[in-house]
């Protein structure tokens, strides 16, 4: 019982402290530029590009896709940097020397970013309604909230996986940027997955966000939660798989780093 309590405490403190550590150097203007202005402008860019391509009346496709894509902003950049930060700040040896439960420690890195990511997606939908005429009159908001939660979780799972990989490379931002931009193609945010070649569709369905974006489009079109449950369940399972793979890599990295003395090698 005491062990469980300690692990919960570690999970909570790790979550809060990693988030504070990541953003303590930020001023409100940096946060606003990165988490508010930049996603809004990215959404506007793709909505205008989509409107240019397909004509007026198709805005909601791009608004929904890019609003949900905002989960990746926190899920990928935030989570990855929370994990990699320990390496760059020199605290990784202390972390690996401690007897702390690795799972609580690892997953704790992502939890606040899930909340922050949900805020980002909600903000995206707010911009969609306020500026781009997104119609939510047919939408069950509770179902949409669940879609957002599950999608943000699965994207953070990808972030944990990338965070583990980033412990082995110096080019964290390169990996993050590449994956984030590739998701813009593969997730269906801006291109209908069904129009992609077969191999690209296979990649799409193996990534988080794809089912989340599809679920969001269906829920906003008026479908019930039961109807999108298969998609949403798949999105959740995918998130669990990415967390598990990421955790496996994290443990492998710790083992190899201790064995070879490469804990701080870059």
């Amino acid at each position: 019982m005491r062990k469980l309590w300690l692990n919960l405490k570690l999970f909570y403190e790790g979550a809060v402290l990693s988030y504070i550590a990541l953003f303590r150097w930020l001023r409100p203007s940096t946060y606003l530029a990165t988490k508010v202005l930049s996603p809004l402008m990215m959404m506007l860019f793709f909505v205008f590009l989509g409107t240019y391509a397909r004509g007026a009346g198709n805005e909601s496709f791009y608004v929904i896709g890019n609003a949900v894509q905002m989960a990746a902003m926190s899920g990928i950049y935030g989570v990855t940097m929370s994990i990699t930060g320990d390496r760059w700040d020199g605290t990784l040896p202390y972390l690996f020397a401690s007897p702390a439960n690795r799972m609580a420690l690892f997953v704790g890195r992502a939890i606040i970013h899930v909340i922050d990511g949900m805020f980002g997606v909600v903000l995206g939908f707010f911009w969609g309604v306020a500026l781009l005429g997104l119609d939510l009159s047919q939408t069950n908001l509770a179902s949409l909230a669940l879609v957002i939660l599950v999608t943000t979780f699965s994207t953070s799972g990808l972030g944990l996986f990338l965070g583990s990989l980033s412990l082995m490379t110096r080019n964290v931002m390169f990996v993050n940027n590449t994956v984030f931009f590739l998701l813009l193609i593969f997730s269906g945010a801006n291109i209908e997955v069904a129009t992609l070649p077969g191999w690209m569709q296979s990649v799409s369905w193996g990534l988080p966000l794809t089912r989340g974006i599809a679920s969001a489009r269906e829920v906003i079109a008026g479908k019930s939660l039961a109807e999108v449950l298969p998609l949403l369940g798949g999105e959740f399972l995918l998130g669990v798989v990415y967390v598990a793979i990421g955790y496996g890599f994290f443990n492998w990295f710790e083992f190899q780093a201790k064995k070879r003395g490469t804990l701080e090698a870059v």
Partner: protein, 265 residues
């Protein structure tokens, strides 16, 4: 004496540009902005605009290349002075007899020329995707437009680099400035889609006039009168921006010598 000083400056620009190039090719963040991001945008734009017909392929090549040009200008040239601050060499740079503006000019020149490579790569990728080389309809005029684009982007880069040092508050908005220019400059869609009140903002931006000239000459729709306007405005804006950047660089020197806050983040 003045001529000798001029050649000294040319030498500094050449050496700085070469050194910047060597540093950039080893930096994966820069390579992403110059090479990978424009290519991803090419693929996305080709898919999204494939039903447009006509000369959409060359439109995508130019537009995607320009996104690489702007992102590189914002994140690489924009950090050309603050980068010196991060590694502790800014004070030495400021106290050297060569004007800092000359050094930053060399850095920005290198970045802009290097970023033009993103357009070449976009061209190669689109040709590969279509299985046939695509044509630049007015190659001579296109080449002249590239020269004007380079000059105007350098002048814009000098302003950004100096502004980021004079006011760190401005730099904090750096991440949010990438896509607004993609939109306002009409890189991949015409600004006629935007609300009317944004048009004057577009007219104030050198990237908008560069996009106008490059799109038109690539597609073969350019007429000399229209091109002359684009080139003239790019040149005029460049003169104004060079003059403003001179003032900003004096502010940087003032920070160094009077306020002693140059090295502060």
């Amino acid at each position: 004496m003045k001529l000798r000083r001029f050649w000294d400056y040319v030498r500094v620009v050449r050496v700085t540009a070469l050194m910047t190039f060597r540093q950039n090719v080893a930096d994966m963040f820069i390579l992403f902005a110059v090479l990978f991001q424009p290519l991803i945008i090419v693929v996305m734009a080709m898919w999204m605009l494939k039903d447009m017909g006509g000369d959409y392929a060359i439109w995508v090549v130019v537009g995607s290349g320009m996104t690489g040009l702007w992102s590189s200008l914002l994140f690489v040239s924009g950090n050309s002075i603050t980068g010196e601050r991060w590694v502790g060499t800014l004070e030495y740079l400021v106290s050297s007899p060569t004007p800092m503006q000359v050094v930053v000019f060399g850095k920005t020149l290198s970045n802009v020329i290097q970023s033009l490579f993103s357009m070449v790569l976009s061209y190669a990728l689109v040709s590969l995707m279509l299985g046939t080389p695509i044509n630049i309809a007015q190659p001579g005029l296109f080449a002249i437009s590239v020269v004007f684009t380079t000059i105007s982007f350098i002048s814009f880069g000098l302003i950004i680099a100096a502004a980021f040092v004079v006011s760190p508050e401005v730099q904090r908005w750096q991440n949010g400035l990438e896509f607004p220019i993609y939109i306002l400059a009409g890189f991949l869609f015409p600004i006629a889609l935007l609300p009317g009140w944004t048009t004057p903002l577009s007219y104030l931006l050198p990237p908008y006039w560069a996009a106008q000239a490059l799109h038109a000459t690539a597609a073969g729709t350019a007429q000399l009168s229209g091109l002359a306007v684009s080139w003239g405005v790019m040149l005029g804006l460049s003169v104004v921006l060079f003059a403003i950047s001179g003032g900003l660089f004096r502010s940087v020197l003032r920070k160094a010598r009077v306020d002693a806050t140059l090295g502060m983040q």
